[in-house]
Symmetry: C2
Subunit: 185 residues, 2 copies
């Protein structure tokens, strides 16, 4: 998914790339949806654990926490650039129970973390009075769009590799512009 | 595509929704790719014309131009929320020539507009020294993500309609946070 900049993958392509028999998928995960759900669980559990730990930190002020968080979002999307699209795909393709499980386990905890991260800073007078729900879309969108557009890079900017140097530049840019956007003057 | 929050549509579904025979698609557009290319052309041409006109305005300062532009991006994504995903899909599914045409006609002109919009403001000392290429991803990402996630809204925030009221709130939020992020203090 990372190489192809897409979440449309087939079991046969997966089998080709991994050199493993696609029957193994059936054995371990039941079917393709089971495999993708396991991937989602693996990626999201790491994120939720890490965000919760950041929110719980007593020895860090709201500005430092948010700065650290935005940095980590950039690194996460560099590591798993397919995550948002895969999540949306799974929510859409799941039944009501499956969709609600993804929302309850992964999306809502992140949103609640934003309520805390932003709320603490607003109450401390460090942040302007920003809506955490809208801010959540601002941050994840700004980062997701960047990594979801390797093809734009290829045809507009003549580079189709997302290098670590570019990741570092974008991390700095994103932290810089969003912190300037939220900090009380 | 707007209703389903997806660019995966079939000609038979299209025919069902529109009440028109799918043979008409073949008659007018050749095939599904032809139809989608025509849609892309229609949507993008309006955007490129409007952005070019904004950049060319002599009687508006860089701050007012950028403010107006971010507002319009929000309105555009509200009107055609599928546009970015459809564009990426078409770039990916086209051959080299087709992909290059989309990049040259639609993506590069917008990027050049950003170079002008941001460059003018930086030179005038109104904006901080921000990279226009990275800024382009920040703006379009922040807006795209919001509208691409009606499903998140449904399961996390118990509303699956993107109302005009929410669009207006998000427009104000986005203009506010991004302008605060870029303006020189």
């Amino acid at each position: 998914m990372r190489d192809g900049d897409t979440v449309d993958i087939s079991l046969s392509e997966l089998s080709l790339r991994s050199g493993l028999n696609s029957a193994l998928v059936k054995y371990y995960f039941g079917n393709k949806a089971g495999l993708l759900n396991a991937l989602l669980d693996r990626d999201w559990q790491a994120i939720v654990t890490s965000v919760d730990a950041l929110v719980a930190k007593d020895d860090m002020d709201p500005e430092a926490k948010l700065r650290r968080h935005i940095s980590k979002v950039t690194d996460t999307f560099y590591a798993v650039p397919y995550l948002n699209r895969l999540t949306m795909r799974m929510v859409r393709d799941s039944d009501e129970t499956g969709a609600r499980r993804i929302a309850d386990c992964y999306l809502s905890p992140i949103y609640r973390a934003y309520e805390n991260l932003i709320g603490d800073g607003v109450r401390a007078g460090v942040f302007r009075d920003i809506d955490p729900q809208l801010f959540y879309f601002t941050v994840t969108g700004a980062v997701d769009r960047f990594f979801a557009t390797r093809l734009v890079m290829k045809y507009c900017f003549d580079t189709d590799t997302l290098t670590e140097e570019l990741r570092d530049r974008y991390r700095e840019h994103t932290v810089d512009i969003i912190m300037a956007g939220i900090l009380a003057r």
